[in-house]
Protein backbone atom coordinates (compact mmCIF):
# COMPACT_ATOMS: atom_id res chain seq x y z
CA UNK A 1 0.00 0.00 0.00
CA UNK A 2 1.25 3.43 -0.89
CA UNK A 3 0.98 5.06 2.49
CA UNK A 4 1.67 8.50 1.13
CA UNK A 5 -0.64 8.23 -1.85
CA UNK A 6 -4.14 9.42 -2.49
CA UNK A 7 -5.69 6.52 -0.64
CA UNK A 8 -4.66 7.81 2.73
CA UNK A 9 -5.33 11.04 4.52
CA UNK A 10 -2.67 13.68 4.87
CA UNK A 11 -0.77 14.19 8.08
CA UNK A 12 -2.66 17.42 8.62
CA UNK A 13 -5.99 15.62 8.34
CA UNK A 14 -4.90 13.07 10.88
CA UNK A 15 -3.60 15.52 13.41
CA UNK A 16 -6.63 17.74 13.06
CA UNK A 17 -8.91 14.80 13.56
CA UNK A 18 -7.22 13.83 16.77
CA UNK A 19 -7.16 17.34 18.16
CA UNK A 20 -10.90 17.57 17.59
CA UNK A 21 -11.38 14.37 19.51
CA UNK A 22 -9.11 15.34 22.36
CA UNK A 23 -10.96 17.07 25.16
CA UNK A 24 -9.25 19.75 27.16
CA UNK A 25 -6.99 18.27 29.80
CA UNK A 26 -5.28 19.60 32.85
CA UNK A 27 -6.07 21.10 36.20
CA UNK A 28 -9.29 22.84 35.19
CA UNK A 29 -12.28 21.38 36.91
CA UNK A 30 -10.54 18.36 38.38
CA UNK A 31 -12.27 16.73 41.28
CA UNK A 32 -11.55 13.35 42.89
CA UNK A 33 -13.57 10.80 40.95
CA UNK A 34 -14.19 8.03 43.46
CA UNK A 35 -12.55 9.26 46.67
CA UNK A 36 -14.12 6.52 48.79
CA UNK A 37 -12.05 4.00 46.81
CA UNK A 38 -8.70 5.52 47.85
CA UNK A 39 -6.37 4.38 50.60
CA UNK A 40 -7.05 7.03 53.21
CA UNK A 41 -3.33 7.74 53.47
CA UNK A 42 -1.16 10.65 52.30
CA UNK A 43 -0.70 8.77 49.02
CA UNK A 44 -4.05 10.18 47.99
CA UNK A 45 -2.53 13.59 47.34
CA UNK A 46 0.01 12.10 44.94
CA UNK A 47 -2.72 10.08 43.28
CA UNK A 48 -4.74 13.21 42.64
CA UNK A 49 -1.67 14.95 41.26
CA UNK A 50 -1.11 12.07 38.87
CA UNK A 51 -4.72 11.95 37.78
CA UNK A 52 -5.07 15.70 37.49
CA UNK A 53 -2.40 15.88 34.79
CA UNK A 54 -4.56 14.10 32.24
CA UNK A 55 -7.97 14.65 33.70
CA UNK A 56 -10.86 15.91 31.63
CA UNK A 57 -13.72 17.77 33.26
CA UNK A 58 -16.75 15.52 33.70
CA UNK A 59 -20.12 17.19 34.44
CA UNK A 60 -21.07 14.67 37.14
CA UNK A 61 -23.99 16.74 38.37
CA UNK A 62 -25.54 17.00 34.92
CA UNK A 63 -26.57 13.36 34.78
CA UNK A 64 -30.11 12.63 33.65
CA UNK A 65 -30.23 9.31 35.49
CA UNK A 66 -33.17 10.59 37.52
CA UNK A 67 -35.43 10.45 34.46
CA UNK A 68 -34.90 6.69 33.99
CA UNK A 69 -37.00 3.83 35.28
CA UNK A 70 -35.66 1.53 37.97
CA UNK A 71 -35.13 -1.22 35.41
CA UNK A 72 -33.21 1.09 33.12
CA UNK A 73 -31.00 2.30 35.94
CA UNK A 74 -30.33 -1.28 36.97
CA UNK A 75 -29.37 -2.20 33.41
CA UNK A 76 -26.99 0.75 33.20
CA UNK A 77 -25.49 0.11 36.63
CA UNK A 78 -24.75 -3.47 35.59
CA UNK A 79 -23.01 -2.43 32.41
CA UNK A 80 -20.96 0.36 33.95
CA UNK A 81 -19.90 -2.03 36.69
CA UNK A 82 -18.70 -4.51 34.10
CA UNK A 83 -16.90 -1.71 32.33
CA UNK A 84 -15.12 -0.85 35.58
CA UNK A 85 -14.03 -4.48 35.88
CA UNK A 86 -12.69 -4.48 32.33
CA UNK A 87 -10.82 -1.22 32.92
CA UNK A 88 -9.41 -2.47 36.22
CA UNK A 89 -8.28 -5.68 34.55
CA UNK A 90 -6.59 -3.58 31.87
CA UNK A 91 -4.31 -2.08 34.53
CA UNK A 92 -2.71 -5.48 35.00
CA UNK A 93 -2.80 -6.16 31.28
CA UNK A 94 -0.69 -3.12 30.47
CA UNK A 95 1.59 -3.91 33.40
CA UNK A 96 2.28 -7.39 32.03
CA UNK A 97 2.68 -6.01 28.53
CA UNK A 98 5.25 -3.57 29.86
CA UNK A 99 7.24 -6.49 31.25
CA UNK A 100 7.22 -8.16 27.84
CA UNK A 101 8.27 -4.90 26.17
CA UNK A 102 11.12 -4.34 28.60
CA UNK A 103 12.30 -7.92 28.09
CA UNK A 104 12.31 -7.30 24.35
CA UNK A 105 14.28 -4.06 24.75
CA UNK A 106 11.46 -2.01 23.26
CA UNK A 107 12.23 1.66 22.62
CA UNK A 108 11.82 4.01 25.57
CA UNK A 109 8.81 5.81 24.13
CA UNK A 110 6.93 2.55 23.68
CA UNK A 111 7.59 1.54 27.27
CA UNK A 112 6.69 4.90 28.76
CA UNK A 113 3.44 5.03 26.80
CA UNK A 114 2.59 1.49 27.86
CA UNK A 115 3.12 2.32 31.52
CA UNK A 116 1.10 5.50 31.15
CA UNK A 117 -1.69 3.44 29.63
CA UNK A 118 -1.87 1.48 32.88
CA UNK A 119 -2.38 4.72 34.79
CA UNK A 120 -5.02 5.79 32.31
CA UNK A 121 -6.87 2.56 33.01
CA UNK A 122 -6.89 3.30 36.73
CA UNK A 123 -8.59 6.59 35.95
CA UNK A 124 -11.07 4.86 33.64
CA UNK A 125 -11.92 2.31 36.31
CA UNK A 126 -12.58 5.12 38.77
CA UNK A 127 -14.87 6.85 36.30
CA UNK A 128 -16.81 3.67 35.54
CA UNK A 129 -17.22 2.92 39.24
CA UNK A 130 -18.66 6.39 39.73
CA UNK A 131 -21.01 5.93 36.78
CA UNK A 132 -22.23 2.67 38.27
CA UNK A 133 -22.80 4.50 41.54
CA UNK A 134 -24.84 7.16 39.76
CA UNK A 135 -27.29 4.54 38.50
CA UNK A 136 -27.32 2.16 41.48
CA UNK A 137 -26.75 4.53 44.37
CA UNK A 138 -24.26 2.03 45.76
CA UNK A 139 -20.52 2.14 46.19
CA UNK A 140 -19.31 -1.15 44.75
CA UNK A 141 -15.80 -2.17 43.76
CA UNK A 142 -15.00 -4.11 40.61
CA UNK A 143 -14.43 -7.81 41.14
CA UNK A 144 -10.73 -8.68 41.16
CA UNK A 145 -9.17 -9.92 37.96
CA UNK A 146 -5.67 -10.46 36.64
CA UNK A 147 -4.25 -10.37 33.16
CA UNK A 148 -4.07 -13.71 31.40
CA UNK A 149 -1.92 -12.66 28.47
CA UNK A 150 -0.32 -15.60 26.68
CA UNK A 151 3.24 -16.41 27.69
CA UNK A 152 5.45 -18.69 25.64
CA UNK A 153 8.97 -18.80 27.06
CA UNK A 154 10.22 -20.79 24.09
CA UNK A 155 9.83 -17.98 21.59
CA UNK A 156 12.10 -14.95 21.16
CA UNK A 157 11.34 -12.05 23.46
CA UNK A 158 10.66 -9.77 20.51
CA UNK A 159 8.00 -12.16 19.24
CA UNK A 160 6.49 -12.49 22.71
CA UNK A 161 6.23 -8.72 23.08
CA UNK A 162 4.89 -8.33 19.59
CA UNK A 163 2.23 -11.01 20.02
CA UNK A 164 0.83 -9.47 23.18
CA UNK A 165 1.03 -5.97 21.76
CA UNK A 166 -1.10 -7.14 18.86
CA UNK A 167 -3.68 -8.65 21.18
CA UNK A 168 -3.83 -5.81 23.69
CA UNK A 169 -3.19 -2.77 21.63
CA UNK A 170 -3.58 -3.34 17.89
CA UNK A 171 -6.76 -5.40 18.09
CA UNK A 172 -8.40 -4.83 21.48
CA UNK A 173 -7.73 -1.14 21.94
CA UNK A 174 -8.33 -0.36 18.27
CA UNK A 175 -11.72 -2.06 18.49
CA UNK A 176 -12.37 -0.17 21.73
CA UNK A 177 -11.77 3.15 19.99
CA UNK A 178 -14.09 2.19 17.16
CA UNK A 179 -16.92 1.09 19.40
CA UNK A 180 -16.49 4.00 21.79
CA UNK A 181 -16.57 6.43 18.92
CA UNK A 182 -19.80 4.92 17.62
CA UNK A 183 -21.35 4.72 21.08
CA UNK A 184 -20.70 8.29 22.07
CA UNK A 185 -22.32 9.41 18.84
CA UNK A 186 -25.65 8.08 20.11
CA UNK A 187 -25.15 9.10 23.75
CA UNK A 188 -27.01 12.23 24.77
CA UNK A 189 -26.69 12.10 28.55
CA UNK A 190 -24.00 14.74 29.21
CA UNK A 191 -22.25 12.82 31.97
CA UNK A 192 -22.07 9.54 30.10
CA UNK A 193 -21.03 11.38 26.95
CA UNK A 194 -18.16 13.12 28.73
CA UNK A 195 -16.95 9.90 30.35
CA UNK A 196 -17.03 8.00 27.07
CA UNK A 197 -15.19 10.83 25.35
CA UNK A 198 -12.50 10.90 28.03
CA UNK A 199 -11.96 7.16 27.77
CA UNK A 200 -12.02 7.25 23.99
CA UNK A 201 -9.36 9.91 23.76
CA UNK A 202 -7.01 7.80 25.89
CA UNK A 203 -7.76 4.62 23.97
CA UNK A 204 -6.68 6.29 20.73
CA UNK A 205 -3.16 6.52 22.08
CA UNK A 206 -3.28 3.05 23.61
CA UNK A 207 -4.14 1.64 20.20
CA UNK A 208 -1.65 3.76 18.31
CA UNK A 209 1.08 2.52 20.62
CA UNK A 210 0.55 -1.00 19.31
CA UNK A 211 0.60 -0.08 15.65
CA UNK A 212 3.77 1.92 16.10
CA UNK A 213 5.48 -0.91 17.95
CA UNK A 214 4.35 -3.39 15.35
CA UNK A 215 5.98 -1.35 12.64
CA UNK A 216 9.14 -0.92 14.71
CA UNK A 217 9.30 -4.66 15.41
CA UNK A 218 8.99 -5.47 11.72
CA UNK A 219 11.81 -3.08 10.89
CA UNK A 220 13.99 -4.65 13.55
CA UNK A 221 13.03 -8.31 13.23
CA UNK A 222 12.05 -8.70 9.58
CA UNK A 223 10.32 -11.78 8.26
CA UNK A 224 10.43 -13.63 11.58
CA UNK A 225 8.30 -10.91 13.14
CA UNK A 226 5.86 -10.95 10.24
CA UNK A 227 5.49 -14.71 10.62
CA UNK A 228 4.95 -14.38 14.38
CA UNK A 229 2.38 -11.63 13.82
CA UNK A 230 0.51 -13.73 11.27
CA UNK A 231 0.41 -16.62 13.73
CA UNK A 232 -0.91 -14.39 16.52
CA UNK A 233 -3.54 -12.58 14.47
CA UNK A 234 -6.34 -15.19 14.62
CA UNK A 235 -5.86 -15.61 18.37
CA UNK A 236 -5.97 -11.86 18.90
CA UNK A 237 -9.12 -11.46 16.83
CA UNK A 238 -10.77 -14.36 18.65
CA UNK A 239 -9.77 -12.93 22.03
CA UNK A 240 -11.67 -9.71 21.38
CA UNK A 241 -14.55 -11.54 19.71
CA UNK A 242 -14.95 -13.46 22.97
CA UNK A 243 -15.65 -10.15 24.69
CA UNK A 244 -18.17 -9.13 22.05
CA UNK A 245 -19.95 -12.47 22.25
CA UNK A 246 -20.07 -12.55 26.04
CA UNK A 247 -23.44 -12.59 27.78
CA UNK A 248 -24.77 -9.27 29.00
CA UNK A 249 -26.48 -8.08 32.14
CA UNK A 250 -30.21 -8.66 32.14
CA UNK A 251 -32.51 -5.90 31.00
CA UNK A 252 -33.75 -4.33 27.83
CA UNK A 253 -31.68 -1.77 25.98
CA UNK A 254 -34.38 0.86 25.58
CA UNK A 255 -33.92 4.12 23.71
CA UNK A 256 -33.43 5.85 27.06
CA UNK A 257 -30.73 3.36 27.99
CA UNK A 258 -29.01 3.89 24.66
CA UNK A 259 -28.88 7.60 25.36
CA UNK A 260 -26.72 6.76 28.38
CA UNK A 261 -24.10 4.95 26.32
CA UNK A 262 -25.23 1.41 25.59
CA UNK A 263 -25.56 -0.52 22.38
CA UNK A 264 -27.18 -3.85 21.79
CA UNK A 265 -24.99 -6.95 21.42
CA UNK A 266 -26.16 -7.22 17.80
CA UNK A 267 -24.91 -3.72 17.08
CA UNK A 268 -21.59 -4.50 18.70
CA UNK A 269 -21.12 -7.46 16.39
CA UNK A 270 -21.71 -5.27 13.37
CA UNK A 271 -19.20 -2.74 14.65
CA UNK A 272 -16.57 -5.38 15.34
CA UNK A 273 -17.02 -6.85 11.88
CA UNK A 274 -16.72 -3.35 10.42
CA UNK A 275 -13.61 -2.71 12.46
CA UNK A 276 -12.03 -5.96 11.26
CA UNK A 277 -12.91 -5.26 7.64
CA UNK A 278 -12.12 -1.56 7.46
CA UNK A 279 -9.42 -0.98 10.05
CA UNK A 280 -7.64 -4.08 11.30
CA UNK A 281 -7.27 -6.10 8.11
CA UNK A 282 -6.17 -3.12 5.99
CA UNK A 283 -3.74 -2.12 8.74
CA UNK A 284 -2.10 -5.52 9.00
CA UNK A 285 -2.02 -5.92 5.25
CA UNK A 286 -0.37 -2.53 4.86
CA UNK A 287 2.42 -3.78 7.10
CA UNK A 288 2.80 -6.94 5.04
CA UNK A 289 1.17 -9.30 7.55
CA UNK A 290 -0.99 -12.08 6.05
CA UNK A 291 -4.50 -11.93 7.48
CA UNK A 292 -5.62 -15.47 6.64
CA UNK A 293 -9.37 -15.96 6.93
CA UNK A 294 -10.04 -12.92 9.13
CA UNK A 295 -12.51 -11.37 6.70
CA UNK A 296 -14.46 -14.60 6.37
CA UNK A 297 -14.34 -15.38 10.09
CA UNK A 298 -15.79 -12.00 11.06
CA UNK A 299 -17.82 -11.24 7.96
CA UNK A 300 -21.53 -10.73 7.55
CA UNK A 301 -22.43 -14.22 8.80
CA UNK A 302 -20.70 -13.64 12.11
CA UNK A 303 -21.94 -10.05 12.38
CA UNK A 304 -25.57 -11.08 12.09
CA UNK A 305 -25.37 -14.32 14.04
CA UNK A 306 -26.75 -12.87 17.28
Amino acid sequence: MNVEGDDGPSQRDTVDDESRDEPKRGDDGYEPTSPWWLSGTPLEAEHHRLMRRRATPIPWQATTAGTLTDAERKRLAGTWMRRSEAEYLAVSTFSVLAIDLVAAMAPADVISLCLRAGIDEVRHAEMCVRMAQIYSGEQNLPVPGMSSLPDDPSRPKLHQALANTMLVSCVSETYATTVLSATRDLTTDPTAQAVLTAIYSDEVMHARLGWSYLRHAIEVGGQGVIDAAAEMLPRALRGVANVVERERPEGEVTEAVRAHGLMTPAEERVIYATCVREVLVPGFQALGIPVGSALEDYGDAWAHAA
Binding site: T14, V15, T79, D151, A176, I218, G239, V244, R277, E278
Partner: protein, 150 residues
Protein backbone atom coordinates in the same frame (compact mmCIF):
# COMPACT_ATOMS: atom_id res chain seq x y z
CA UNK B 1 -44.86 0.73 7.42
CA UNK B 2 -43.18 -2.38 8.71
CA UNK B 3 -41.22 -2.59 5.49
CA UNK B 4 -40.01 0.95 5.91
CA UNK B 5 -38.86 0.15 9.40
CA UNK B 6 -37.04 -2.96 8.19
CA UNK B 7 -35.41 -0.97 5.44
CA UNK B 8 -34.31 1.74 7.85
CA UNK B 9 -32.88 -0.88 10.19
CA UNK B 10 -31.03 -2.54 7.32
CA UNK B 11 -29.58 0.77 6.17
CA UNK B 12 -28.56 1.63 9.69
CA UNK B 13 -26.92 -1.76 10.17
CA UNK B 14 -24.94 -1.45 6.98
CA UNK B 15 -23.55 1.94 7.95
CA UNK B 16 -23.12 1.24 11.65
CA UNK B 17 -19.58 1.90 12.73
CA UNK B 18 -18.32 2.93 9.30
CA UNK B 19 -17.78 6.56 10.20
CA UNK B 20 -16.00 5.50 13.37
CA UNK B 21 -13.91 2.96 11.48
CA UNK B 22 -12.83 5.59 9.02
CA UNK B 23 -11.81 7.94 11.82
CA UNK B 24 -9.96 5.20 13.67
CA UNK B 25 -8.12 4.16 10.54
CA UNK B 26 -6.71 7.68 10.27
CA UNK B 27 -6.10 8.50 13.91
CA UNK B 28 -4.85 5.12 15.09
CA UNK B 29 -3.51 2.84 12.37
CA UNK B 30 -2.27 5.39 9.89
CA UNK B 31 -0.98 7.77 12.55
CA UNK B 32 0.60 4.94 14.52
CA UNK B 33 2.28 2.88 11.86
CA UNK B 34 2.47 4.88 8.68
CA UNK B 35 2.94 8.57 9.31
CA UNK B 36 6.72 8.27 9.42
CA UNK B 37 8.79 7.27 6.42
CA UNK B 38 7.29 4.39 4.43
CA UNK B 39 8.16 0.95 5.62
CA UNK B 40 11.41 0.16 3.88
CA UNK B 41 11.16 -3.58 3.98
CA UNK B 42 11.94 -6.39 6.30
CA UNK B 43 15.07 -6.44 8.36
CA UNK B 44 16.04 -2.86 7.68
CA UNK B 45 18.35 -1.54 10.31
CA UNK B 46 16.91 1.00 12.70
CA UNK B 47 17.98 4.56 12.31
CA UNK B 48 21.13 5.34 14.19
CA UNK B 49 23.39 8.32 14.25
CA UNK B 50 26.85 8.63 15.63
CA UNK B 51 27.89 11.62 17.65
CA UNK B 52 31.23 12.77 18.95
CA UNK B 53 31.60 13.17 22.69
CA UNK B 54 31.61 16.79 23.67
CA UNK B 55 34.92 18.04 25.03
CA UNK B 56 35.74 21.24 26.78
CA UNK B 57 37.47 22.57 23.67
CA UNK B 58 34.55 21.63 21.45
CA UNK B 59 32.03 23.14 23.76
CA UNK B 60 33.74 26.43 24.39
CA UNK B 61 33.32 29.27 21.93
CA UNK B 62 35.22 32.04 23.72
CA UNK B 63 35.06 35.64 22.69
CA UNK B 64 38.16 37.82 22.76
CA UNK B 65 37.40 39.05 26.26
CA UNK B 66 36.84 35.52 27.41
CA UNK B 67 40.21 34.51 25.93
CA UNK B 68 42.02 37.23 27.93
CA UNK B 69 40.28 36.19 31.09
CA UNK B 70 41.24 32.62 30.43
CA UNK B 71 44.94 33.46 30.01
CA UNK B 72 45.01 35.24 33.37
CA UNK B 73 43.19 32.41 35.04
CA UNK B 74 45.55 29.86 33.51
CA UNK B 75 48.59 31.63 34.92
CA UNK B 76 47.17 31.68 38.42
CA UNK B 77 46.15 28.09 38.09
CA UNK B 78 49.71 27.05 37.08
CA UNK B 79 51.16 28.56 40.22
CA UNK B 80 48.59 26.92 42.40
CA UNK B 81 49.00 23.60 40.62
CA UNK B 82 52.74 23.48 41.31
CA UNK B 83 52.12 23.79 45.05
CA UNK B 84 49.29 21.34 45.02
CA UNK B 85 51.26 18.81 43.04
CA UNK B 86 53.87 18.20 45.72
CA UNK B 87 51.22 17.65 48.37
CA UNK B 88 49.22 15.43 46.08
CA UNK B 89 52.19 13.21 45.24
CA UNK B 90 52.85 12.60 48.88
CA UNK B 91 49.22 11.76 49.58
CA UNK B 92 49.05 9.52 46.53
CA UNK B 93 52.00 7.44 47.66
CA UNK B 94 50.38 6.81 51.02
CA UNK B 95 47.08 5.99 49.45
CA UNK B 96 48.69 3.59 47.00
CA UNK B 97 50.28 1.57 49.76
CA UNK B 98 47.03 1.44 51.64
CA UNK B 99 45.13 0.42 48.52
CA UNK B 100 47.58 -2.39 47.70
CA UNK B 101 47.00 -3.93 51.10
CA UNK B 102 43.24 -3.62 50.76
CA UNK B 103 43.30 -5.08 47.26
CA UNK B 104 45.21 -8.11 48.42
CA UNK B 105 42.64 -8.79 51.11
CA UNK B 106 39.70 -8.16 48.78
CA UNK B 107 41.09 -10.52 46.18
CA UNK B 108 41.30 -13.34 48.64
CA UNK B 109 37.74 -12.71 49.80
CA UNK B 110 36.45 -12.40 46.25
CA UNK B 111 37.92 -15.72 45.20
CA UNK B 112 36.23 -17.48 48.07
CA UNK B 113 32.95 -15.70 47.41
CA UNK B 114 33.06 -16.39 43.66
CA UNK B 115 33.35 -20.09 44.25
CA UNK B 116 30.43 -19.99 46.64
CA UNK B 117 28.30 -17.96 44.17
CA UNK B 118 29.14 -20.21 41.24
CA UNK B 119 27.87 -23.19 43.18
CA UNK B 120 24.70 -21.36 44.19
CA UNK B 121 24.08 -20.09 40.64
CA UNK B 122 24.43 -23.55 39.15
CA UNK B 123 21.82 -24.78 41.58
CA UNK B 124 19.50 -21.80 40.92
CA UNK B 125 19.79 -22.25 37.14
CA UNK B 126 18.84 -25.87 37.43
CA UNK B 127 15.84 -24.95 39.59
CA UNK B 128 14.75 -22.13 37.24
CA UNK B 129 14.93 -24.36 34.18
CA UNK B 130 12.46 -26.69 35.80
CA UNK B 131 10.05 -23.86 36.66
CA UNK B 132 7.62 -21.83 34.57
CA UNK B 133 8.13 -18.11 34.30
CA UNK B 134 6.59 -16.44 37.32
CA UNK B 135 4.16 -14.25 35.38
CA UNK B 136 2.40 -17.37 34.23
CA UNK B 137 -0.01 -17.63 31.36
CA UNK B 138 1.44 -20.78 29.89
CA UNK B 139 -0.33 -22.06 26.80
CA UNK B 140 -3.77 -20.90 27.89
CA UNK B 141 -5.84 -19.22 25.20
CA UNK B 142 -6.30 -15.50 25.59
CA UNK B 143 -9.55 -14.80 27.33
CA UNK B 144 -9.70 -11.43 25.69
CA UNK B 145 -10.20 -8.00 27.03
CA UNK B 146 -11.67 -4.84 25.75
CA UNK B 147 -14.19 -2.21 26.42
CA UNK B 148 -17.37 -3.91 27.56
CA UNK B 149 -20.10 -2.17 25.75
CA UNK B 150 -23.30 -3.59 27.07
Amino acid sequence: MAKHRDLARELYASSLGRKSASTIWRTVVFAGAMLAAPLTGCGGSPKKTTTQPMTGGDAAQPSDQAAQDKAAADKAAEEKAAADKAAAEQAAAAAEAEKAAADQKAQEEAEAKAKEEADAKAKADADAAAKKRPRGGGTARPKGRGFVLA
